[in-house]
Amino acid sequence: MKFSANWLNEYLQKPLKPQEIADLLTMHAFEVETCEKFGKDFVLDIKVLPDRAHDCMSHIGIAKELAAISGLGFIESKANISEDKKIKAKDFIFVEVPSGDLCPRYSMRVLSDVKVAPSPKWMQERLAACGLRPISNIVDITNYVMIETGQPLHAFDVDKVGGKKIIVRRANEGEQITTLEGKTYKLSNQNLVIADEKVAIGIAGIKGGEGPEIDEKTKVVVIESANFEPTNIRRTSKAFNLRTDASIRFENGLDPELTIKALGRAASLMAEFAGGRVASGLIDVYPNKVKPRKIFADVEWIQGLLGLPVKIQEMVNILKRLDVPAKIIKKNKKTFIEVTPPSSRLDLRAQEDIAEEIARIMGYDKIPATVPSGILIPAAKEENLIYEDKIKDILVGAGWSEAQNYSFISDADVKTFEIVKQVEIKNPFSQDQKYLRPTLIVNLLKNVKENLKYFDGVRLFEIGRSFTMVGGNPAEWKNKIAAVVSNKNAKRPAEGLFELKGLVHILFEKLGIDDVWFDDEISSDSSVMPFWLKYTHPARRAQIKSGQNQIGWVGEIKPKILSAMEIKEKISVFELDFSEVIRIASEEREYIPPSKYPAIIRDLAIVVEQTTKIETVLNIIEIAGGPLLQDTDIFDIYEGLVDYKKSLAFRLIYQSDERSLSDAEINKLMEKIIKSLEEKGWEVRK
């Protein structure tokens, strides 16, 4: 909120320089965001936070803070009302408050014979400094008093109030009101209105309505100064998306005692600057007067919390400077400060609030830094996070870079990827961020697309949360590990896919998972179809498994998706379930020393059908080879033999940990393997 430095100084014994005001407030009360020259004045933009909005969205509130911080005296503004005994307020207007629960206090004053004209120049200047547009003396005075005291006021032309009656009631269902700006709102009984005998003439605490507004012909003015229940004001203001200077103040709660102070000040200014006669009598519907409350603040507790043995008398003095009555009492050998907060300090509720007042007025700089003592608890890091670091390091080591993307996806993404059961944001800010991602793939593909403009090869990974509907409820679903690769000028089909298979092997090996395999027998039952099948190439994808547990998948992105995203290159991706991976990962690996005995190496070339899976051939070799066959590597694949056949070349490594192997026994094993292969109808080239 904007404040005028000159105005603030009016309440202080001795004026402070604008920059002094800014510095004092920043270090003891509120952050001052700007302090700028404005004509002969300075305007300060002070960030008043919600706990003090009830009293400090006003020049008096801020000036009181300044007085307390600087120790300068505070000078009250004058409100000398001389009531005209010849006219009585109650003869002009009658007030009824049937909805007292939403309006704890409703006060009014009447002025007759006012002359509506421009307000005095000094007032116009102050309003302008605070960002308000001058309108007329009556309206300007209500605004002026609001930014002076914090109490919103509203002025009506009594002659235009139907039946000379003001009723503070809940709106009727479907009742309509047109505000002073000419906008019409449809009301419900959740909204509080100010009405005359027939119609609503204002949305209570938010905005005045068309009808009894002040104009140049207005002769008799009634000023409303009310206290409304904050939550109701806030809900209505939110529902109508209508925030005003008044609603902001009411929704933070206001001191009910403030209504008549503001009213007196406004009446006095109107008498002075609009030539009005103040009708005698105050209209004031205030059935339940707020009672003062007491706080017992434990002195030792406060000293401990602050980390400074502030003297009790100093604490009391600080509170007194804040206009908060306090006295020292002893109870059960303990010293307390009994605090009776003034009605204007709605925020002071318990001893922690008192501790804050003392700390900030004294200054946090007075508190020395003290290294905490106590039992040293060994600092641990949750296992999940340790694994996350480790996985990142492995993937980076293998040449992949870490992306961190938005958790959101757009409507268009949902359509392109045929995503179902997506979690929707109820109040999205933009169309790009309408849903939460169920997979990391979507945004990674967008990364690839952008990067291909500058790089021939793109390798990225991300670890992050995914979201989906589970049993009809939105849920934070799985933490996932995803990687993508795209190479321009790939040398063989699905090159990226095999790169990623290699990456999976590196990752799992380093995590201590030996058992990983790729299962391409994917159920085509559409009812249980996992959604990744919708965007991967049907002939180029596999589930990643360890034992029978599915821990992820790898595949090439379907051409349809790529063309929808306008990507020309092929892209391969994998996505792993983070918690499955770390569940299986075991770091307790046993070291196996290298064998002391020599290895015997044999090569084997086999001709099989083009469609025969290498995995199948390998399995047969390994079963027949037995435990002495320590490793089998495929080192050549030659496709394009006649009759749709291909040649596979394997290198078989035999080794024992216990003895040297003889050629004879290896020959026997080789014969066994060859026999097994030939039984399958495959030709073994000798």
Binding site: L305, E352, I367, A398, S401, L460, P474
Partner: protein, 337 residues
């Protein structure tokens, strides 16, 4: 005879001078020491000499042989060295090295690891957390009742009336305390969300690091020491801390720690807007309401809590001027870390 040998010696030395490779050296050796070489020729002529002369000449020749061998050896060494001239194998070693695959951590990960390491050294455990939260943990348990104006300080993405994307890492204060007994020291890093337009300094998602320390006697002074030590270690220089009053519903008193500007050492510069200070975090003493939410006896325990934006640290460290680059996998950006 002696003259002949001396003459031969001289001739040998002259010829040796001219030898430039291994083959010529070998030829020379054969010519002198070979079966039909010069020395053997002389030896064959010895039988025409007297016994006495034979002994003498024999000695000369043996000395000469020895000398030849030594000279040959030196010459061979020299030739060997000459042969090691690699000039034919010259290549341009300034040509670029092979392009090996190279991955990069996100700068946020790099800075977060440093942050975690420092806090762990100060006894704070690192705790994992969730991104989708309930209204209860994100707000109500932290003393933000429904319809409280303080909720406006954090524009929120709602999923349902009771579910939302957390606006802060603070829900983990209550979540953690519900499951653990004090004393405790934790930090909780994580992604948070705000319903806000994206620009260079605002994002709809960013990272926070939450901190919480609870014990019987914890003071503002302790907070000052811990946060001061953290920033000093992070920047590798002595950092001054000042606290400004602030407001958060879940701390009382509430304050914001500023650090002395790391760019100008507090003298005032463009980055600290000439104040000498940089705003770093929100903090305060744990509100008794929060202890109550967690099931602790409110005035039996004291604690401080803080939360700071990790992204700001990353941006300051690497002089990144647009926050949005942190939320996209742009290799032109990532390759720099």
């Amino acid at each position: 005879m002696q003259n002949i040998i001396e003459e031969l010696k001289k001739k040998f030395k002259e010829e040796l001078q001219k030898v430039s490779d291994k083959k010529l050296l070998e030829d020379l050796r054969v010519r002198y020491l070979g079966r039909n070489g010069e020395l053997n020729k002389i030896l064959r002529g010895l039988k025409e000499l007297s016994e006495e002369e034979r002994v003498q000449v024999g000695r000369y020749i043996n000395e000469f042989k020895k000398e030849i061998s030594e000279l040959m050896e030196t010459a061979e060494e020299k030739i060997k060295q000459m042969a090691e001239d690699f000039s034919k194998e010259w290549l341009d070693v300034t040509a670029p090295g092979a392009k090996l695959p190279q991955g990069h951590l996100h700068p946020r990960t790099i800075v977060l690891r440093k942050v975690e390491e420092i806090f762990q050294s100060l006894g704070f455990s690192v705790v994992d957390s969730r991104e989708m939260e309930t209204d209860y943990y994100n707000f109500q348990a932290l003393n933000f009742p429904k319809d409280h104006p303080a909720r406006d300080m954090q524009d929120t993405f709602y999923i349902t009336d009771e579910l939302l994307m957390r606006t802060q890492t603070s829900p983990n204060q209550v979540r953690y305390m519900e499951k653990h007994n004090p004393p405790l020291r934790i930090i909780v890093p994580g992604k948070v969300f705000r319903r806000d337009a994206s620009d260079a300094t605002h994002e709809s998602q960013f990272y926070q690091v939450e901190g919480l320390m609870v014990d019987k006697h914890i003071s503002i002074g302790h907070f000052k020491a811990v946060i001061g030590e953290f920033f000093s270690q992070l920047y590798g220089q002595k950092i001054k801390i000042r606290l400004r009053p602030s407001y958060f519903p879940f701390t009382e008193p509430s304050f914001e720690p500023d650090i002395s500007c790391t760019f100008c050492d507090g003298r005032g510069c463009r980055i600290c807007k000439n104040t000498g200070w940089l705003e770093m975090a929100g903090a305060g003493m744990v509100h008794p309401f929060v202890f109550k939410s967690a099931g602790y006896s409110p005035y039996e325990w004291q604690g401080f809590a803080f939360g700071f934006g990790l992204d700001r640290l990353v941006m300051m460290k690497y002089k990144i001027n647009d926050m949005r680059v942190l939320n996209f996998g742009d290799l032109r950006f990532l390759k720099q870390f």
